[in-house]
């Protein structure tokens, strides 16, 4: 078939493009930045249809990058607690908090970077039955065992979760999902 350079009605099914982005499972390069440019923020927000899009829109518009985001209901009705890990990009690092604070949807915001906090992340993974024992030794919990594999969960600090996932990768994993951190300040 001769390709017309300016076909007003191109074929519906296009040739599959060669993937250029990393395959899932591969380590994803983080935005080039120093660690001190990454802030961990605990944010109390008003529940609403626009809240998440306002926050993510602001982060994009100011040139910041989201590394992780976790949201869940807070103890107050109509308000949610968000834990955001944000790279300040080319901006001054304190801008991340200051800009988010301006949003009417943001009720309270606290920068807990480097503070004494409990920070937990969760991994849920499906593995071959032969590996379960070793993972349980590391603290994983079995959620379900089926013909196609065993599902385990593991929660911990970010580095522990990272180590756990590295181990999974070495021994083969059928499927894995990982959350971002949720943090709470340590009581004195």
């Amino acid at each position: 078939m001769i390709e017309t350079p300016r076909d007003p009605h191109p074929p519906v099914v296009a040739a599959r493009p060669v993937p250029t982005s990393p395959q899932s499972g591969e380590a994803r390069p983080l935005p080039a930045a120093h660690e001190e440019r990454v802030r961990v923020l605990s944010v109390l927000v008003e529940d609403g249809a626009n809240t998440l899009s306002k926050i993510s829109g602001l982060i994009r518009r100011r040139g910041f990058h989201v590394r992780s985001i976790s949201v869940g209901p807070s103890r107050q009705a109509g308000r949610s607690r968000m834990t955001l890990t944000v790279d300040a990009g080319h901006a001054e690092v304190d801008q991340v908090l200051k800009q988010l604070e301006r949003l009417v949807e943001v009720i309270e915001i606290e920068d807990v970077t480097g503070e004494e906090v409990h920070s937990r992340e969760l991994v849920v993974a499906k593995v071959k039955a032969s590996q379960v024992a070793g993972l349980v030794d590391r603290g994983a919990k079995v959620l379900n065992t089926g013909a196609d594999g065993t599902t385990v969960e593991f929660a911990g600090e970010g580095t522990d979760v990272g180590d756990f996932i590295n181990e999974l990768m070495q021994h083969g994993v059928l499927d894995v999902a990982r959350s971002g951190p949720v943090v709470l300040r340590r009581s004195a």
Binding site: A49, R61, L103, V104, E105
Partner: protein, 555 residues
């Protein structure tokens, strides 16, 4: 219910355009004669009119538009108001709440499209939300650092029956603007400035927004500190005062830039310290030992320049709190002020006037002579804007309106119309280039319909002058897509719209044309054919420091 709520908020004018999704509001509009609706010819015009209205009289401007294209036509106007912190309420119609998300006719995600250019926005899908939302919107738009707030109201909500509800007490936990001053910080700031050898104060739009001109004047005189303003701060300090440095920034006056670049303490009040003020950031005010920043928006602290002393406060409160801590006579200040006087002599504003062409400055000097510190001057964007700013001559706080942050071409005519509605006792002069003028020229109909005293000074150089100047000076002299030879005959265009107009291309005809404009009640247009090669000076070449400003060539 919407209209009643607007009456309760004290709204007098609405600039709007009806359409399918706001028909229920318009159906009831005639029942509210206190709300004067100005039918615009394009929604962008409505937004700029509301903006000009708000800048001129200080009350929030109100805009109506329908869903989809109507609302999206507001985006540029919202951004203009947002960048310059202008209070505005935009009420847009949205499709029925049950149709949202179904790609209904004239549906668009207005909240999504406007979030980054509004201070806040609401999508109203139920009548219960409406009284609270409208009341909150006015509060948010007008308090703290002002800005536009958009309310997108589904059509079924507009026509829902509801009891008239008095708005409940305001409770917005996520919005607590703080205008109070940290008094220790204020003392520290005042003492730093008073103790400086070479102090400079720069004043921005925040000074005008908080009506702090008098406080600034007192403070500056007592501290014997020279004062420059940003483009949007023009009018915050009398320009003929011995302490005036006039406009700062990359097209600011030479003596201002010299002062900023040699200051040891720099106080920046009610301003964002953006790139147009600093030029190359690394070389901005390099001799400063103490930066003091006063702004009501805490996020401005350290956004571009990290202050040593920061005061997150309303400019007026801050200046009031600082003044008592400045000693009466500032010894040793004489040398610095004499140095500034010398720079003022050495780097005066000047322009070419010997090449036979009509110069824009000739026109503006004549215009300002007639303004007598009284008239409102609204400038468009481009060379006309900077000329109008630099030749501003008011010696008391006056109104110079322009789109500074957003730089929106087409702003001047609708904003001048809005300003006239806001301050009907004032003469309003609209200064524009021909490029920007035709972007919103359809609003001439509004000026004619309401017989508004808006005098239009068209500085017509047959090109996109500022872009042409940048191409000549900074982009290898390649003149690319800046030729505007093919434009309407503006006298005929004015005639078609129904307003008188004259064309002027000689210096001796400037005065008589201006006389005619002044004599005429209602709108008047003068098409000034100015020197097509006229440039803006001083100018700092792009990417250079404020030290590197170019001055007008002597020829």
């Amino acid at each position: 219910m919407i209209l009643e709520a607007l009456e309760r908020e004290g709204v007098e004018f609405i600039f709007g355009y009806p359409g399918g999704a706001n028909l229920p509001i318009y159906q009831h509009l005639p029942e509210h004669p206190k709300l004067k609706h100005i039918l615009v010819r394009h929604e962008q015009g409505a937004a700029h009119m509301a903006d000009g209205y708000a800048r001129a009289c200080g009350k929030p401007g109100v805009v109506f538009a329908t869903s989809g294209p109507g609302a999206l036509n507001l985006v540029t106007g919202l951004c203009t108001a947002y960048m310059d912190s202008v209070p505005m309420i935009a009420i847009t119609g949205q499709v029925n709440s049950t149709q949202v998300g179904r790609d209904a006719f004239q549906e668009s995600d207005v909240i999504g499209a406007t979030s980054s250019v509004t201070k806040h926005s609401y999508l109203v899908t139920s009548i219960d939300q409406l009284p609270r939302v409208i009341h909150e919107a006015f509060h948010i738009a007008t308090t703290g650092r002002p800005g536009p707030v958009l309310i997108d109201i589904c059509k079924d909500v507009q026509q829902a029956d509801a009891e008239r509800v008095t708005p409940e007490r305001l409770e917005i936990p996520g919005y607590q603007p703080n205008g109070h001053v940290n008094l220790d910080r204020a003392r520290e700031a005042a003492q730093a400035l008073a103790g400086a050898e070479r102090p400079v104060i720069l004043a921005g739009h925040g000074v005008l927004l908080s009506r702090a001109e008098r406080e600034l004047f007192k403070f500056a005189e007592k501290a014997a500190a020279p004062v420059g303003t940003t483009l949007l701060g023009i009018g915050a300090f009398p320009v003929n005062h011995p302490l005036s440095l006039h406009m700062t920034g990359f097209m600011g006056t030479g003596w201002n830039l010299k002062a900023v670049q040699n200051a040891d303490v720099l106080m920046m009040v009610g301003m964002r310290v953006d790139d147009r003020v600093t030029a190359r950031l690394a070389d901005f005010a390099p001799k400063v030992k103490t930066f003091i920043h006063v702004d009501i928006d805490g996020s401005e602290m350290g956004k571009n320049v990290r202050p040593h002393i920061e005061l997150v406060a309303d400019a007026r409160n801050a200046l009031e709190a600082m003044t008592p801590h400045v000693g009466e006579l500032q010894a040793g200040r004489g040398q610095w002020l004499a140095q500034i006087d010398a720079w003022r002599e050495e780097h005066p504003l000047k322009y070419t006037h010997s090449n036979g062409h009509l110069q824009p400055q000739d026109v503006l000097i004549d215009m300002y002579r007639r303004c007598r510190n009284e008239a409102i001057v609204v400038a468009d964007v481009g060379q006309n804007q900077i000329w109008a700013a630099l030749w501003w001559n008011y010696d008391r706080p006056g109104l110079f309106l322009n789109s500074g942050g957003s730089g929106t071409m087409g702003f001047a005519l609708p904003a001048a119309i809005g300003a006239k509605f806001g301050r009907p006792e004032k003469t309003v002069w609209c200064v524009a280039g021909e490029g920007g003028f035709v972007m919103t020229a359809q609003e001439l109909s509004v000026a004619v319909e309401h017989q508004l005293d808006v005098k239009i000074v068209l500085l017509n150089n047959f090109s996109l002058g500022m872009v042409r100047q940048f191409q000549d000076d900074f982009y290898g002299g390649v003149r690319s897509q800046v030729d505007l030879t093919h434009m309407p005959d503006f006298v005929k265009l004015a005639d078609a719209y129904g307003l008188p107009a004259v064309r002027v291309d000689k210096l001796e005809d400037v005065g008589p044309a201006m006389d005619a404009a002044e004599r005429t009640k209602g709108p008047f247009l003068i098409d000034f054919h100015i020197d097509p090669e006229a440039n803006v000076y001083p100018i700092v070449p792009l990417g250079k420091s404020l030290n590197d400003f170019w001055e007008a060539p002597d020829k």
